[in-house]
């Protein structure tokens, strides 16, 4: 969804060709005003408040709020739970994004070869990521229940020891990453499939005539040409993974212990459950900066791999 950022001035040169030479193209920017005003009121104003909260000792219900400078930020740097949240966020991010890009690439290539029941298979693919995360969470809570869940029964059938899944300190992050991968790999695959269909066919014909092996074609032609598509997928998934919330809030609320308490979950809980809003805002602004930093780096990477 970064198309418009790089949108070429589509037909600036063609502008006015159909009209009389005296006719100036009408000014229509005012039509963008309602949505810009909406964004200003609903997003820019609250953002200003969030910045103010982060510089104050604001607490809902307190009579006086005073400016405390960067104290919330120094408190953050000294808070082991902030660093734990950051660590969990990064671990979950790395685990999930690698899984989703690799499996998404595989699934996209696979889908490109499908000839029968194409439409049905694609419909199955778009279903998981358009289902509510809350429902996905409920579904896996039941399947992964340590004592009565179907997952442990499957393990039992394979003569493997039962697992605590989401209740295990060691496993909770990989399990959450896998659930997210279950939900979002099809999305990456659809992007890859769209990317594959825009690739120039003449390169492949030339390679086939030259007798290049299939492995080499993949490594030296398909993969580099898919670069921009994969980075686009990485951008879209990064944004969601770095602010991971719904699924964890439903399944573990950050537990067991702090094993799945991502930065987003931790700052939400500080802000809403403890009404510690100044401090929570400082952490959320930090997280937002991190996300936009990732997007900035990846957007530049996309320019570097474009062809």
């Amino acid at each position: 969804m970064s198309a418009a950022v790089e949108r070429a001035p589509v037909s600036a040169a063609v502008a006015g060709t159909g009209s009389k030479p005296t006719q100036k193209p009408p000014q229509l920017m005012w039509m963008a005003a309602p949505s810009l005003i909406f964004v200003a009121l609903m997003v820019a104003v609250p953002l200003g408040y969030a910045i103010w909260f982060s510089l104050s000792d604001f607490r809902m219900g307190n009579a006086v709020t005073k400016f405390i400078g960067l104290s919330n930020y120094t408190r953050m740097v000294a808070d082991p739970l902030f660093w734990n949240g950051l660590k969990i966020t990064v671990l979950l991010y790395v685990l999930a994004i690698v899984l989703q890009l690799v499996l998404g690439l595989y699934l996209g290539l696979l889908m490109n070869r499908v000839t029968v029941l194409k439409q049905l298979v694609r419909t199955i693919l778009i279903s998981p990521f358009l289902m509510p995360p809350v429902v996905i969470g409920m579904m896996w809570i039941v399947i992964l229940d340590p004592s009565l869940g179907a997952a442990n029964y499957l393990l039992e059938l394979m003569h493997l020891p039962p697992s605590d899944w989401l209740a295990s300190t060691q496993l909770v992050l990989p399990v959450v990453a896998l659930i997210d991968t279950w939900q979002w790999t099809p999305f990456v695959a659809l992007l890859v499939l769209g990317g594959l269909q825009t690739l120039p066919t003449n390169v492949y014909e030339a390679a086939q005539i030259d007798g290049v092996s299939r492995g080499k074609i993949f490594l030296h032609i398909t993969l580099p040409l898919l670069g921009p598509t994969l980075v686009t997928a990485a951008i879209l998934r990064s944004v969601d993974l770095l602010r991971f919330f719904d699924l964890i809030y439903i399944t573990t609320q950050g537990g067991p212990g702090n094993a799945s308490r991502t930065l987003n979950i931790y700052s939400y809980q500080r802000g809403i459950e403890f009404l510690d809003m100044g401090y929570a805002s400082a952490m959320m602004l930090t997280l937002t900066t991190i996300i936009l930093g990732f997007v900035f780096v990846l957007t530049n990477l996309k320019k570097a791999v474009s062809w």
């Binding site: 198309a3 159909g18 009389k20 949505s35 199955i124 805002s281 959320m284």
Partner: protein, 275 residues
Amino acid sequence: MVSQSSSRRIAAVSTTLQVFAVAVVLLIPVIWMALSSLKRPGEVTRYPPTVIFDPTLANYAKLFAEVPFFEYGLNSLIVSVVSTLLGLALALPCAFAISWHSVSWPATIALITRMAPGTLFVLPWFVLFSNLGMTGGYWVLILTHTVITMPLALWVLLPYFDALPRSIFESAFVDGCRGVKCLVHIAIPLVLPGLMVAIILSFIASWNYFLFALVLGGIDTKTLIVASFNFVGEGATDWGRLMAAAVLICLPPLVLIFIMQRGLISGLSGGSVKG
């Protein structure tokens, strides 16, 4: 030639088998959820789990009898429909204008809005809307959900507007067709496929959204998503009722996906891959 065609057949069979395996992995959990919703209380927590059982709709009946599930559904529907319409009313003229002028910064602003974590806005909103006395009402949910639907609709619609030939509008402008009239009578009919995709994706995004309704919703405006989250919190594993709720919440998005499958896929990948 014979060996080539047989190796091609092996490749086709292997592709089919792999696709089948993927479909199984994707569908089994959802099927399990649906099956669990049809089991009796003793059956649903039976271990080892059963696949063959006497199905019942008792869980669904219980859902509507024990909690105001229908009212929750109506709340979800009101919020999703109105925020979708509002999002489109804002995004359509915006997409038209920025496509005509080939400017991208409003779209970039919308994109950044979409990238910030919802938790960042929810604290100030909570404070601001509480001061305005709006928390617990429908409008607070509609307005906050429009922050999700508007950028989404804008991004889905832009490539469709960009693809329209400029000359159409130029002759319309010469004929004196202006602004909103031109958008409604000329542009919208031409971007109708994109508009349908934008409507469906916005509706699903708003229907599925959790956080804003969790914090800003009231007892009377509780959405299905928040209500079912409360079931999870209630601890006692009434799995049958939980899974019945899950199935019902999934139904509107899934039905829409099945109706709109073809358009959705091109709409989903169109906006993101073209750049």
